[in-house]
Symmetry: D3
Subunit: 331 residues, 6 copies
């Protein structure tokens, strides 16, 4: 490992500081050599904290992309800037890790994929839930054929009262959407990815703004300001895929329900089914009897950098997941 992958950070705000930079620092084969932010002091602070000694600071991402030494770029900007920066980075010959959601429009997203193909570079989107031990196991089990054909699925992203009250999460204009694009997209991603089925045929959906006005109702992060909560509070969808499969998508930040479940999928196949309701559980029949099979996964949460990467689209290659047990005290 004489030469490490040289990475650059574009956008040194919340998600960069809260998730990516501290995690990348723990990965051995990669180092952060450049940092860009329109607020210079944020880039400077990040460079000091996470960069190499010679790390360079930029306020214009275009300048950063000219640096030949950079192998890969993390696009961690506001959503509206994801697409054009990613494309520019790919065209500049960099691999790209772009935060979710990928883009604001389908056209933008397609252009990103085209750019990656043309450039022959890797493009990955920040769906860290794929790296969870349960998702990894399920992906492999489906790929091996354990579930047969998966024809019915559910994507779960339901919160009872966990409305994010910081940042611009609640602002429809600035954020562009509510639970559907924020947590719903995670649930849908692991559903599509484990099914390995990405072609929808038709969709029907409903979105609601029903609880926005009642701010003091036991929210996980304290009361919200009803006037500022302008995105939907819940959204539901029914998706028929080209191959005949059906997916039900449920997402909410606030809903009167006891059935909260987030970043999870349920799959029903011809040979077996799976869900994540009480850890990962496989169910089916064998030797004339129904069975349940529960893998013992020591998933330490949903962090992006946990777990071994099995997906070529992911740039970081962390070391094997450290299992949770420590050597026992009695020798």
């Amino acid at each position: 490992m004489a030469s490490k992958l040289k990475a650059a950070i574009i956008g040194c705000g919340g998600i960069a500081n809260g998730k990516h930079m501290p995690s990348i620092k723990k990965v051995s084969g990669i180092e952060m050599v450049a940092f860009c932010d329109i607020i210079e002091e944020r880039a400077v602070k990040a460079a000091k904290e996470y960069g190499t000694k010679k790390a360079v600071v930029y306020t214009d991402y275009k300048e950063l992309l000219k640096d030949k030494a950079i192998d890969a770029v993390y696009v961690l900007t506001p959503n509206k800037d994801h697409s054009y920066i990613t494309i520019a980075a790919l065209e500049a010959g960099k691999h790209v890790m772009c935060e979710k959601p990928m883009a604001k429009t389908s056209a933008e997203a397609k252009a990103m994929v085209e750019a990656a193909k043309k450039a022959g570079k890797l493009l990955t989107i920040g769906y860290q839930n794929r790296q969870r031990a349960d998702a990894q196991y399920l992906k492999k089990a489906v790929a091996r054929g354990d579930l047969g054909e998966v024809y019915f699925a559910k994507a779960h992203a339901i919160r009872r009262r966990a409305v994010p009250t910081w940042g611009v999460f609640l602002d429809e204009e600035k954020q562009g959407g509510g639970p559907l694009i924020d947590i719903g997209t995670h649930a849908l991603d692991i559903t599509l990815w484990t099914m390995d089925n990405y072609k929808p045929k038709s969709v029907m959906g409903s979105a609601y703004k029903k609880l926005n006005g009642n701010g003091d109702c036991g929210n996980a992060w304290g009361p919200w300001d009803p006037e500022k909560f302008t995105v939907e509070d819940s959204a539901f969808g029914f998706i028929q895929m080209e191959d005949g499969a059906t997916i039900i998508l449920e997402s909410s930040w606030a809903l009167n329900t006891l059935d909260a479940d987030e970043a999870k999928t349920t799959l029903c196949g011809t040979k077996a089914g799976a869900d994540m309701k009480d850890g990962l559980r496989i169910n089916g029949d064998d030797l004339g009897h129904l069975y349940t099979k529960t893998p013992a996964l020591e998933s330490g949460g949903a962090a992006y950098y946990e777990g071994e990467s099995s997906d070529p689209g992911v740039l970081e290659q962390p070391p094997p997941m450290p299992r949770k047990m420590r050597p026992p005290a009695n020798r």
Copy 2:
């Protein structure tokens, strides 16, 4: 109670013997005075077992309907005969209790309602789950406004492996449908009824025949014959109502899932929500905190004749539900 309601049974087969006749016999204000079946001996047997001493037997329902002494008629025939017999009975001036499903087509069903209105007689359909203590409590709570506006709901009719192997349940031609019309209709009924919302605007749905071919797979009533299992094994729907509410309907006789739930509803309203997953549970917020409220219902199952009737559409008026506790042994 000088004069009892005089009832007639049309169709003395499985559902009559398994559910209706033994139950009616326990209700004090009603007596069975006439029995009709195209197989005469079945009518004769029923009359002996359940009828009054002077009970009359028919093989032609038209003859039965001429009997002026009859107040009410139970239509317990195969599905295809529900509509025209019900209409004839109403026109003959009888109240009617018709088994579910109401009819084979929407047109037939509408004609039945029209006939009831015109005749000024009561018509009810055999949705006994409405009489369960949990459904009754929920109906009252919604009516009182406890849940506010109910805008999202689920109708649960999911079995893992409980395919009925007797009768004609599996025969698409004779039965006309699978879990959707058999158990799905029960779940949908208590959903619509507790919501008090009967006007759909648009519907999208999927039905599958995926497990039909694997007969020996731990079915509750033993292996089925794959060749005879011609109805769907599962069906799912997404319904948008005229007032904007959304209902998700899930039904199956066989599905690879651990989330089996039948004859249940989940409601999400602007003030509170409710489900029946672990008994009836109401959830909402109060004094700035989330809460769960669990009524102690001593529901003795799903039998039609249990519970007090609160619906004018139901003919029988059983005595108050006997609570399950007996006087303690120690005085």
Copy 3:
């Protein structure tokens, strides 16, 4: 099924009345045509209750064996008489079902097997636990190779305080042994049978009489008479098989332990393991993770005649096990 198997009962005492005769009566392809007991009235009573109309009664089993119409014989006598009657029956051309334990000595047992081979008739021993759903499933799973090579096992027959106080169970002279030959033999049988490994190489064991003197100690069937409790109260063994496998056998009628478990086996193989501690559980590793697999078996206890026979050595062929669920009340 024009002609039914014609069976004779030799020994119309406790085990015949408590287990065999009522059960055989429920099996469709067999009928009891002859009954023998040295106490004639017991045979007469049995014939009336369980026999065909023309059933014959004997007090001498030799006379019974002369009856050409008899296909199979149940040897339900005291243990000491098992061997010679079984051999005589086989020589008379009958199939034999002999109660456990097979015989008092190894030599007697071998002679029985020889006689069966020579006569070309079926001989089976009354190990009804093989017919339990969990044992059946495990047998099939091991046979399919799911556990790999089974090299370590335990046979569990531990009771905390369940000393049988009736009959001659406690009398060493009459019974010939305590928990080891009574319940230990059941546990060992399902262990050997599911392993399909019957060749021991060496054995080490211990037997104790430690609690015999303390009769009033919470026994399941009330206090015992210390003077009459002359068999061992517990016995333990360590068995090495010819192929290198090890089996630990634990049996007791009374032992100061909280780990009571009876008629169960634990198997550890190169691919997976299995136990019956909380229902049947298979454990192993898959895709780099440990897993537990729990078949949903509706085992209705340990009765001999439950479950489908998969063993050619069993005479009775009962109909498929009726699953425990009944058609639901709501149609």
Copy 4:
């Protein structure tokens, strides 16, 4: 406490740094005045971190033993060096605490005991599980006669997949054995010690190497290298003691089982029994009924230096175990 016990450490490697030195430092009546290791820098580092200001460093243990000021010696070297260093230390007039296992051969162990007797010095072996609250309570209860005569016992040292992948644990040549000598010896020690029974008469045992070849199977510390795993993966024994008692010993680092239990004992006596399966539980009969008695032990794990020493063979005399509860926040 004018003068503290002066201790010396011989062997400043893993077990010294991981267990002994940090723990000794917390004990008030003892101080570390000398450190020896053939790798000098390890001794120097230890002296700095744990020693008194005037602590001396050695690379030859013989030199260390000449120091008259030293009262006691900790022998924390590789197993092969335990015996001769211990004997030399005793002969030099020091008390000795030698890590487990005591020695490689029975002869070596006997020589150590002889040396201690001759020197009139204390010799103790590092079986820290004796200091656990549950073991201490059980020891006292047995000594008081609560269990009567203990005639059957089990020593539990079963891991499902917790193969130590560091150090030389897996190397048969260097380590001299697998789970039997590493964790099996702990389980056997608390069994023998609580029974107060150290005289075996005959033993039968089996050891296996069955799972060694399957390295990626959910091991607690990650996959192992099959080629380097040359010790046994499991070992089982059946021990008959001189007084007639039987002990079953089970040990494994990898076994397909759900019944993992380590450093525990089960005892069955004539008056009562005990196990540690769900905390310490005593079971027996009283006033004609069975009972279970569960002491509330606040055992903080298995650390050597926890708990009050009740064994004269242990050098350290820690202060009374700090109970786990802190003074409540509300005064």
Copy 5:
């Protein structure tokens, strides 16, 4: 048992038919030879059902008492008649079993005890809870000194909503009291009896009529008639005994509480304590640790005639309690 105890029943109403007569019939050493009721047909019916062939019927208890053949009398009349009939029976030389409550006034009760002493006959009151296995065990444990001096206790007779709606339970005039004298007296009795402490010094108490007016509130036996519910709904007391002990008594038929508990006691002594909250549990300290001890009692409820009598005041001597386990099916 050549001659059986000859018993007479005075009062053949509810408690006689529901509890005493069917139970006495199961006891081997006693037979019912005389029956008295002011409603003759009730006595006749009882005699037929439960009496010996020559059983005599009376309508005047004084006539009955003249019968020299009668050994013992059951006084099962309304409460107001308990005292004078009991005294008359004792004076006539009969043993007496009188239903609880003993009498309406303290003076009456004292006169009954005096009469028994004078006559030299046995007098017992119908406190069947003393015969429960948990009460028996606790009584013996306290008597043996296991709890030391019992100085604080609670008598539990709290129902949430279990108001008896039949008979005259709710009628203050006819019944003389509510939960305090009906179920509170049972709880207090087992408290005093297990403490073996019957001398109160001072008492303070409160009684309430707070929920009487709300009849339809989930009562176990259906809604009550508020106008007829004239006794207290709850009553609480604080009793200081002559020896310094304190007893708290809690009783209710309806109370807004989740802590319902009936016919139970809690004892706190200097050596140990006991309660019946989750079966009988003894708690104390031993070897420097707290412990809980739970006897395995197979109490089959609270029926009077269950359990072995250990109280000389009880007339019936039933055979040893049949334990609940049956011989296992597998021999």
Copy 6:
């Protein structure tokens, strides 16, 4: 918040350092400007750690009270000094927060209240349990009328073995009382405060010294010295209020019970009841059924400064309680 409340600490001992000063420091609208202790160095240390830069130190509280800049005083001295210092502070025109117990005698307490009224200043006592989320919710629910009239209650302050062994807790002379005044007063306070009922009519009580002599019995903070344990170990009371309500008070530091519960209340009202046995639970009846309602309170324990203050008597106004959930890791 240009000007902060200026507070002074009188008494810089255990309760000041353990509870008040660190907590006040976290509250934004208040600053500590003066510290008084008869041991000067304690005051100096406190001033450095918690005070403003210009904080002044006193050894005489009278001098401190002359400081005009001080708005409020915390009286954190030994109990005997509470009253006169509080009165002096009020007379000096300060608000006062005085630790519990308020005073040693009723007369002292009344004088304190009088002084506060006369001075027109706020006086509050350190009952921090009122600030717990469960107490706050219950207070509001009772005030809204949810429970109707509360006529029966229990104040729970029972410890099994949690005798405080530090300070002067056990010294009757110095401390003035045991569990009754230390933890009993907390339980009684939240009972009276949630009931909003402060007028007792009559009281009966018992106090015991029964376990004092048995020091080594599993105490939470280790064995106590029997000779120094001179306060009562338990105390019980029965209180009748002027309006007819009854309150049972139970308190202990050591009692042989499994029903330990501290700083909790149980209320029974005419409409509903409440307890804190498994979190806060409201119970009552609704629509003809009993119900349980459980608010989801994220109470982080019993600390004084947690929760929003709703009581005007509390000086500090902390910011809204930070709920326990953190923003999820996956964005």
